[in-house]
């Protein structure tokens, strides 16, 4: 390890400058340790910075009708937090195992940008914005623009993800389901997150996002448009057509975790399950 910088930066500015010079951020370390496992064995680990001392990346607050979640918030903390939308809590509680959730952070999950990242479908469905900081200042952008491909983001070399901003009270009904071979430590085969505003048994607004069925999270603007304005009973009778729309929207592949065919039928079934859950509360 050649750490020419302080591995424990005390300010965001110092951290961003170290990152620009090639230091890899270490938040919970749960992806870091796997990605650099070989290098760690041979003493070839790239230089790194521990983010833990950076107060700006901590905490959960409620500025005007939104909730701001610091990038270092852990999956364990988010699983039990009552200020954030339940959709996100539920998904965070599906990550890994209890001990893994105590270490794994929301910022790490986003920056890893895996199509199987469990926090991502809820963040897409809720319309999350990410806050990015650099020595030049802060900027906000929608998460769907931040994640540019499997494992890639638009983060620049001198930038860190500082927080996630979510609207609150925009939706009143949520659905989340993760399909995986066992409850703990199993990467998602397919997942669905849905956020809806339902008034008088009618869909006013609905957003949905599928995980693990494409190179990034799959959004469904056409299905959302088809659902909006419908009553729940109309939706229940439209399930067969909606399932076909799901199969056409997602882009699953065969890999060592599952097959495209399995993912396609399960994804369609998840939407059906969601509509039945909304329709028969």
């Amino acid at each position: 390890m050649v750490n020419s910088h302080n591995p424990y930066p005390a300010t965001l500015r110092e951290a961003c400058m170290a990152k620009q010079k090639g230091a890899v951020p270490y938040a919970g370390g749960t992806d870091f340790m796997i990605r650099h496992a070989k290098a760690l064995q041979t003493g070839q680990c790239p230089p790194f910075i521990f983010l833990n001392d950076l107060n700006e990346l901590q905490g959960i607050s409620n500025p005007d009708n939104t909730v701001r979640i610091g990038a270092l918030a852990t999956m364990a903390a988010l699983s039990v937090n009552k200020e954030i939308p339940g959709l996100l809590s539920q998904a965070c509680n599906c990550v890994g195992s209890p001990a893994l959730r105590s270490a794994a952070t929301l910022g790490g999950n986003i920056c890893t940008a895996s199509p199987a990242g469990d926090s991502l479908p809820p963040l897409y469905a809720l319309g999350a914005q990410v806050e990015i900081c650099s020595p030049a200042g802060r900027r906000l952008m929608p998460i769907r623009d931040f994640i540019s491909g499997p494992g890639t983001t638009t983060l620049q070399s001198d930038e860190l993800l500082s927080a996630v901003i979510l609207p609150v009270n925009e939706f009143n009904e949520f659905y989340h389901h993760k399909v995986s071979p066992r409850v703990a430590n199993a990467i998602t085969k397919v997942s669905l997150a849905v956020a809806a505003r339902i008034e008088n048994k009618r869909i006013k607004k609905i957003r949905m996002a599928f995980g693990s069925v494409g190179p990034t999270i799959i959004c469904c603007p056409q299905i959302e448009a088809a659902c909006t304005g419908s009553s729940l009973s109309e939706l229940l009778s439209a399930v067969p057509e909606l399932k076909i729309m799901v199969e056409k929207t997602i882009k699953p592949i065969d890999d060592h975790r599952s097959t495209a065919q399995y993912r396609r039928s399960i994804a369609a079934n998840l939407l059906a399950d969601c509509i039945e859950t909304f329709g028969n509360p």
């Binding site: 390890m1 750490n3 591995p7 424990y8 270490y26 370390g29 749960t30 340790m33 796997i34 496992a37 760690l40 003493g43 680990c45 790194f48 521990f50 833990n52 364990a76 890994g96 195992s97 209890p98 001990a99 893994l100 105590s102 270490a103 409850v183 703990a184 430590n185």
Partner: protein, 158 residues
Amino acid sequence: MTKLTSFTLNGEFVSTKSALDLRLVDVLRCEFNLTGTKEGCGEGECGACMILLDGHPALSCLMLLGAAKDRDILTIEGLRATQGFAVLSQAFNDAGAVQCGFCTPGMIMTTYALLRDNPNPDDGAIRAAMAGNLCRCTGYSMIVEAVSLAVQRRGETW
């Protein structure tokens, strides 16, 4: 310049000059000779390396030494000195929850934290808390039984 990493280990303040990019599990086992903490998978999947970090179950194979700075670490050796350990080890023994024993230190660490935070867990809560601890020998029924036995016997031990 040598960087010292200091932390609390089993109640004692310790410092090490070791490289920050060593895995904590290796430092505990090779430098501090605390070999009760096991490495099973080395990938965060099995829980054999479970320690308590600031009181909460944590995977020592999945963190760097540098991330332990200023934290409070308890290993099975630290727990061993407590009355709680006596209750837990007897319960695991009586339930037949130990065969090769490789997973047992991790299981005990997780159980200790679970029962501290939830003195009366039901079967579901026990299984949820232990979901990250794998055992290749025993089968999980005996382990859940061991935890239930410890629930009945622990009284006010911890």
